[in-house]
């Protein structure tokens, strides 16, 4: 169970990129047993993201809503399948970061749905970054279909592959300090939590919305390790085993590491092979990729870029498209303020649409994520 001694281990090589290109266009099936959607799964995942809208977790409330049941949050389909396709191999030992994703939704996801996910890697692009020099961006498309053969959603997601050693040599974030919160800082955050407004049962009509209008901001933070590992990890629960393994603990992880030599990054102190994504919650691994601390799981931040809109739009609306991309890292202790505005308003057929632009800013004033959410609103005219 030692890592590969190959001289190209951990490097982005032309051979590695070619191995990825060889797989482009091939359809890969999701793991079938995660497809049964329960109210429990919808609720626990939503609340792990900090979601306060009862439409996404309160079954009693859901029954009385226009949907007649609770529905899943836009980001929820991540739990059916992590879709960046980096687990197909090709660049062993090269780190992978979630970059963002773009979604198109065709129907709400409800308890009782059985959803399968099939994905198809569709591109790999070489780039460079100040963080780690040479990098590759891998794209994959995923389609979600329910048990009645209805299209549920389509997604395109990308992950960013960087060399761990190159990141350590550059050490770009060496001067980033952990924030230090005063009581007043914390009170301001808690007040913002208290002020969070949920649109709820009162319809927000398309006619009443103005282009350029601001959405009430939301706050998420200071980010805590338990919120990363025990609150947002769901999408990884079945994918912590790599490759074709069904995931799972102990034997499952162990045997998948053995099958995929070079995937595990051993713990330097104990020599135990372990999953490289633990940099999300273990300082030792975060240092191996030259980050100033442990960092969030991207889809969680992605979810906030839609939450600000779903809070505002009311239960009578439907998210039709959702794009988000992550910039920089959201490090433990960082506080994220999410802002948004209505950027566009139009009619398409009988659909009354608005587009909202959203962004995440941390306490240092850095933009850490950008979102674009397209929503179908109810119209006064249509009634």
């Amino acid at each position: 169970m030692t890592t590969s001694e190959s001289s190209t281990y951990g490097q982005i090589t032309q051979e590695g990129l070619q191995r990825i290109r060889d797989r482009l266009g091939v359809y890969y099936h999701g793991i079938r047993h995660v497809g049964e959607i329960t109210a429990d799964a919808i609720r626990t995942y939503a609340q792990g993201m900090g979601e306060r809208n009862p439409l996404f977790f309160d079954e009693e409330y859901g029954r009385k809503s226009p949907y007649g049941s609770i529905i899943a949050t836009p980001i929820f389909l991540w739990t059916v399948r992590a879709i960046t396709a980096t687990n197909l191999g090709g660049l062993p030992g090269v780190h992978s970061f979630y970059g963002g994703s773009e979604w198109e939704y065709y129907r709400p996801v409800r308890p009782g749905d059985i959803i399968s996910a099939t994905y198809r890697p569709h591109d790999v692009v070489e780039k460079s970054s100040t963080y780690a020099g040479r990098m590759a961006i891998q794209y994959a498309q995923t389609l979600y279909v329910d048990h009645r053969a209805n299209a549920v959603a389509k997604a395109r997601a990308w992950s960013i592959r960087t060399e761990r050693r190159a990141a350590r040599e550059r050490d770009r974030f060496r001067d980033v300090k952990k924030p230090r919160y005063t009581r007043e800082d914390l009170e301001a955050i808690w007040d913002a939590y208290d002020r969070e407004e949920i649109g709820g049962a009162t319809p927000r009509y398309w006619e009443d919305v103005q282009e350029g209008e601001s959405l009430p901001p939301i706050v998420r933070g200071p980010l805590r390790v338990v919120e990363i590992i025990f609150g947002a990890g769901r999408f990884d629960a079945f994918n912590t085993g790599v490759g074709a393994s069904p995931g799972g603990n102990h034997y499952y992880r162990w045997s998948s590491f053995r099958k995929h030599l070079g995937f595990a990054e051993p713990d330097p102190e104990t020599g135990v092979p372990d999953h490289p994504h633990r940099g999300h919650w273990e300082e030792t691994m975060a240092r191996l990729i030259a980050l100033p601390g442990i960092y969030d799981l991207g889809p969680q931040r992605g979810s906030w870029l839609a939450q600000i809109v779903t809070n505002w739009m009311s239960d009578h609306a439907f998210v039709r498209r959702f794009y988000h991309e992550l910039r920089r890292f959201n490090i433990e202790g960082d506080t994220t303020w999410v802002h948004g505005k209505v950027s566009r308003k139009w009619i398409e057929g009988d659909q009354h649409l608005v587009e909202c632009e959203t962004n995440c800013q941390n306490q240092r004033g850095e933009t850490t994520g950008m979102g674009r959410v397209e929503v179908i609103l109810p119209s006064r005219g249509a009634e």
């Binding site: 939590y193 102990h250 020599g271």
Partner: protein, 378 residues
């Protein structure tokens, strides 16, 4: 290290907590229904390889005609961590006595009632005076049948005293040799699951060893999968709500000045060190589940686990490896049940016992009725 950061455990505080005895406690169940996803994810999270709890394909041929859950899945409906009162005093899971009455099957909806049974003052070398809280959880399914009952034990340990004594602080991280890692590998491969081959009561010998199973080295991913499914966490404003109700149930991070959950100690050494553990550690509940996995592997699909009593005696730290072992210590026939008594325990790579307990299993008999012991008659 000597400064006072957290409250001491006083007799008054213990008395105060005794007032909660018998009161039905408010619980926040993570799950309500044993759906397919939950049953399989739980089995994967405890590292079970028993297809009885993992494979839908098998349900056509198993006795239940449907997917069956590991008995300890009940931890997902109430994790049996019953530790009301004593604000500011740490709570360490110390074990549970489970009695199982019925199997848990696909789509069962489980509701629970929980209460505190007792609070007793104890002494130990970890922190001197401590308080042992005994709790009870009763699990009922949608047919109003009592599925199981758990008596749980939580040790309340004053943090300053534990930190000053530093009982475990000279433990160093274990460096595994390649041979040791290989041995773990081989043990995983050698795991025996009886499945449809019955363990007949008549064939079991007192003194016989159960085939051991290994769980480890414990990784943070193991904690992710297990805690996420059993307990989860209170994220963002939910944590704020909780803290307003329980202002002392918080770890103030000295570096950033921000509040954090004590559950962070399951992944972050610095939080564990604030209450006297050198490293991040398991949830304790996991080892109870692993010992269940040891017994259910051995008893075959035709046996029924009637009781499992486990006491945790040492912490299981991150990257420690746990070997789950058992031996048959008795057998008998009572109320027409053919029963064997087992001694079970967990041992780490240092040869230390970290948990010990017992189990009672009803097995099929060659002598009597064909029905296995978990079938109920009108």
């Amino acid at each position: 290290m000597s400064e006072q950061r957290y409250p001491d455990l006083t007799d008054e505080a213990i008395e105060q907590t005794r007032k909660l005895i018998g009161v039905q406690l408010r619980r926040y169940p993570r799950w309500k229904e044993a759906g397919k996803e939950l049953i399989i994810r739980f089995a994967l999270a405890i590292g079970s390889r028993n297809p009885l709890y993992l494979s839908e394909e098998l349900t056509a041929t198993n006795l239940f005609g449907t997917l069956l859950a590991h008995p300890t899945i009940l931890s997902c409906f109430d994790d049996t961590f019953i530790a009301p009162g004593l604000p500011g005093i740490h709570a360490l899971y110390a074990g549970a006595d489970w009695e199982f009455f019925r199997p848990i099957l696909l789509h069962d909806r489980i509701t629970t009632t929980a209460r505190l049974l007792d609070v007793a003052k104890k002494h130990g070398d970890f922190c001197g005076t401590m308080a042992l809280q005994t709790g009870e959880v009763v699990y009922v399914n949608q047919e109003d049948e009592t599925v199981a009952r758990a008596t749980s034990y939580v040790m309340r340990t004053p943090r300053d005293a534990a930190r000053h004594r530093g009982k475990y602080m000279n433990i160093t991280r274990y460096r595994y040799s390649p041979e040791e890692l290989e041995a773990i590998d081989r043990a995983y491969e050698a795991e025996e699951i009886r499945g449809d081959v019955p363990s007949y009561w008549e064939d079991v010998q007192v003194g016989e060893q159960l085939p051991p199973i290994v769980k480890g080295p414990l990784s943070s991913d193991d904690m992710l999968n297990f805690v996420d499914i059993v307990r989860g966490t209170l994220s963002f404003s939910y944590f704020l709500d909780h803290r307003r109700r329980h202002p002392q149930d918080v770890h103030w991070d000295p570096e950033t000045g921000m509040p954090d959950s004590w559950d962070a100690s399951m992944v972050k050494d610095s939080v564990a060190q604030a209450f006297g553990f050198p490293f991040a550690h398991d949830s304790g509940i996991q080892r109870v589940c692993w010992l269940e996995n040891l017994v259910t592997n051995w008893m075959s699909n035709l046996g029924f686990l009637e009781s499992l009593k486990v006491r945790l005696v040492r912490p299981n730290f991150i990257y420690d490896t746990t070997w789950c072992r058992g031996r048959v210590v008795g057998k008998g026939v009572e109320d027409a049940k053919h029963r064997v008594e087992l001694e079970v325990w967990c041992e780490n790579q240092r040869g230390e016992v970290t948990a010990r307990g017992s189990a009672a299993v009803a097995l099929v008999s060659r002598q009597v009725d064909i029905f296995p012991p978990f079938v109920h008659f009108p």
